[in-house]
Amino acid sequence: MSWTPGEDQIAVQRAPEPGAAGGTYRAFGETLRGLKTTFARVVEGVTTIQYPEQKVPVYPRFRGRHKLHRFEDTGLEKCVGCSLCAAACPSDCIRVVAAENTPEDRVSAGERYAAVYEINISRCIFCGYCEIACPFDAITMGHDFELSDYSRADLIFTKEMLLAEPIEATPLRGEGE
């Protein structure tokens, strides 16, 4: 790399020296233009979204908190306790303990079911691999994103919590919105 002095010089655009007429014009005339610009912002109105009361609707494919699903007709759980989601999980936050279904106590449609199904939400990176790994579409990424809590223990979501409907539905963005 050769470098000749003066090559990296840049031309600086300087405002005219503050003469009487030019300086006065800049001080007052240009200020008027600026005032117009800012006043246009007032006319434009407010773009703030008042968050806790007003939420931005999420996109349909938004990956929020997980949901576990049941069959709508029989009410049986879709999850068969195969642990593929736990295997796919890069942050290792899913814990599945499977148990056998018995004719008296039938929980899922398959042979086995998830006796314990826990997701540590504080570790989850919301990548959605569990959803892809699941052969029965038993787990999907939901739309809830308000997941803060006071203790880490409260952020371990159990099967019952994942199966339940969220208390407050997150607004969903419609088609073309």
Binding site: P18, A20, G23, A27, G34, F39, R41, V42, T47, T48
Partner: protein, 341 residues
């Protein structure tokens, strides 16, 4: 062409009541101005201002005052003891004293006694304001110096240079008004504006006065005394708790004083245009409404202009404002002499 004090006498207790009422009004309006400023600034930036504390965020200043009042009054080891404590008091005292001169109306008869709707009506109105403006400035400089910190000191030095430069133009801008009205008493000046408010014949004076006032009260775009980005907070960097509140209070009160003076000298005080003559009790509200408009303009400018660089500040003050103000005074003097002879 009358000079001298208003030709009536007020009992001492009337003066005490008057000063209490004026002080109470000023104290009551100040927090509203602060919340108004923040809300309006928000609108200028496409957002709401504070709107969480109380209805429409109106209790925001109250919450802030409680916060400040419960804070520790810290003091750097390098601070110069008594001066560090006295400086904010000087600032606030000067601001309150200057507010006494703003006339909110004429001197009507209230319960059979003649009471002037102002703190004092001195025969040297504008000079009184400048005198207290100069004292206020001791508060700034002493505060900055007594803090024993380089940022405070830099801020104080900037304040000194800025106030000296702009006070000249501010004073010269008023000379045009004084020549036209033929009096230094603020009530006389308002009465003299019966035909036409002075901001029309004295438009240049009004512009210069407004600009210089922005610099006098350290508001944007001349707030390089505080310059949050460079000097932390200028002369009150080391102040905290209620002492800092005193400085902020003085700044906003100065804003009100300057608005009051501008309203009195250029915008016709308590007079209304087009021959509308409301009852006397409306007068203070007219003055307050005009001050409110002027303060809105202050905030609008703050939302618009970036802070000037130091050399820009100096060249604007000395090379643009001062010649304009001088020319204005000169032309006014010639015109007045020509008309009268």
């Amino acid at each position: 062409m009358t000079l001298g004090l208003a030709g009536y006498y007020e009992a001492w207790w009337i003066q005490i009541i008057k000063s209490l009422v004026i002080f109470g009004i000023a104290l009551g309006i100040l927090p509203l101005i602060i919340v108004y400023e923040r809300k309006l600034l928000g609108r200028f930036q496409n957002r709401y201002g504070p709107n969480r504390v109380g209805p429409f965020g109106l209790l925001q200043p109250l919450a802030e005052i409680v916060k400040f009042a419960t804070k520790e009054d810290s003091r750097p080891v390098t601070a110069v003891g008594p001066l560090y404590v006295i400086a904010p008091m000087i600032s606030i005292l000067a601001a309150v004293a200057a507010f006494a001169i703003v006339p909110f109306g004429d001197a009507p008869h209230i319960f059979g006694t003649r009471v002037g709707l102002y703190g004092v009506d001195t025969s040297i109105g504008p000079l009184y304001v400048f005198a207290f403006g100069a004292i206020a400035f001791y508060g700034l400089v002493l505060g900055g110096w007594a803090s024993g910190s380089k940022y405070s000191y830099l801020g104080a030095m900037r304040a000194a240079a800025q106030l000296i430069s702009y006070e000249v133009s501010q004073g010269l801008a008023l000379i045009g008004v004084v020549i036209t009205a033929g009096s230094l008493s603020l009530t006389h000046i308002v009465h003299a504006q019966g035909g036409m408010w002075y901001f029309i014949p004295q438009f240049v004076g009004f512009l210069v006065f407004t600009c210089a006032s922005f610099a006098e009260v350290n508001r944007a775009p001349f707030d390089l005394v505080e310059a949050d980005a460079e000097l932390v907070a200028g002369y009150f960097t080391e102040y905290g708790g209620t002492r800092m509140v005193a400085y902020l209070f003085a700044e906003y009160l100065n804003m009100m004083v300057v608005s009051g003076i501008a309203v009195t000298l250029f915008l016709g005080g308590w007079l209304l245009p087009f021959g509308i003559d409301p009852p006397t009790w409306v007068d203070p509200f007219i003055v307050l409404a005009k001050m409110f408009l002027f303060i809105t303009f202050f905030i609008w400018i703050r939302a618009t202009l970036p802070r000037l660089r130091y050399d820009q500040l100096m060249s604007f003050g000395w090379k643009i404002l001062l010649p304009l103000a001088t020319l204005n005074a000169l032309v006014t003097a010639i015109v007045v002499v020509a008309v009268h002879s």
